[in-house]
Subunit: 134 residues, 2 copies
């Protein structure tokens, strides 16, 4: 039940951008040094956040990334879902697919409830909240 580095690093990037949220663009070089993650791997992760509109980018010299909304407008859940693809504990709850044996599956209600519990919590926490947590 682990969150992969994609999700963890995506959250770190968002937190880092939030901590340097002064309207200027922050380069991956800076983030990579602060968070101790390679620039190349960060490129892949920030690419996802960028495509999803979670960050704005500026190419070229002195370019970089910045948050595109206020820190209270991102939930932990939204960041993790975008970067991980899905947070569902079993793949039959991913997207639209759904298992054929869903009707008769005795375990499914448990997984559904677990999914709900996780989602409820992660959607209740904003990036702003995370910065203030201790």
């Amino acid at each position: 039940m682990k969150i992969s580095t994609k999700g963890r690093y995506a959250l770190k990037v968002m937190i880092d951008l939030a901590q340097h949220n002064d309207g200027t663009y922050i380069s991956l070089k800076e983030i990579a040094e602060r968070q101790d993650i390679s620039i190349k791997y960060l490129e892949a992760i920030v690419g996802i956040l960028n495509k999803a509109g979670f960050v704005s980018s500026q190419r070229g010299k002195s370019g970089g990334y910045r948050l595109s909304r206020g820190t209270d407008e991102y939930t932990a859940g939204s960041i993790l879902k975008i970067s991980e693809g899905s947070l569902a504990p079993v793949s039959c709850l991913d997207g639209t697919a759904g298992c054929e044996k869903a009707e008769e599956c005795v375990s499914l209600p448990l997984w559904r409830n677990l999914d709900r519990v996780v989602d409820d919590y992660l959607e209740s926490v904003t990036l702003k909240d995370i910065l203030e947590m201790k």
Copy 2:
């Protein structure tokens, strides 16, 4: 954040044994057929449950497995933790290790809370509850 087949199958085995909980020993052959999982893979999974004392085994002809306690004495969490090893969303919350940068880690409180939320839910559900869920 997926539960692996180890955890899913372990739960299936426990549910199957609960559904045939008449004091007799149920062979892996039966369970394998009902749950559509290979006997060989089941052996590995039930081995874990057996070592943990979750099931009792009887070797030899007409042997098999049966629950060693009442269905209300197993939580979903205990079954999944034994089979998966850990349910923690990040490895720094596994066992005793702990990350060196824990003090300064801005994400950690979120992961701790998520771990708590998951654990609270899964420990609140018993095998008996699962059989009655819909």
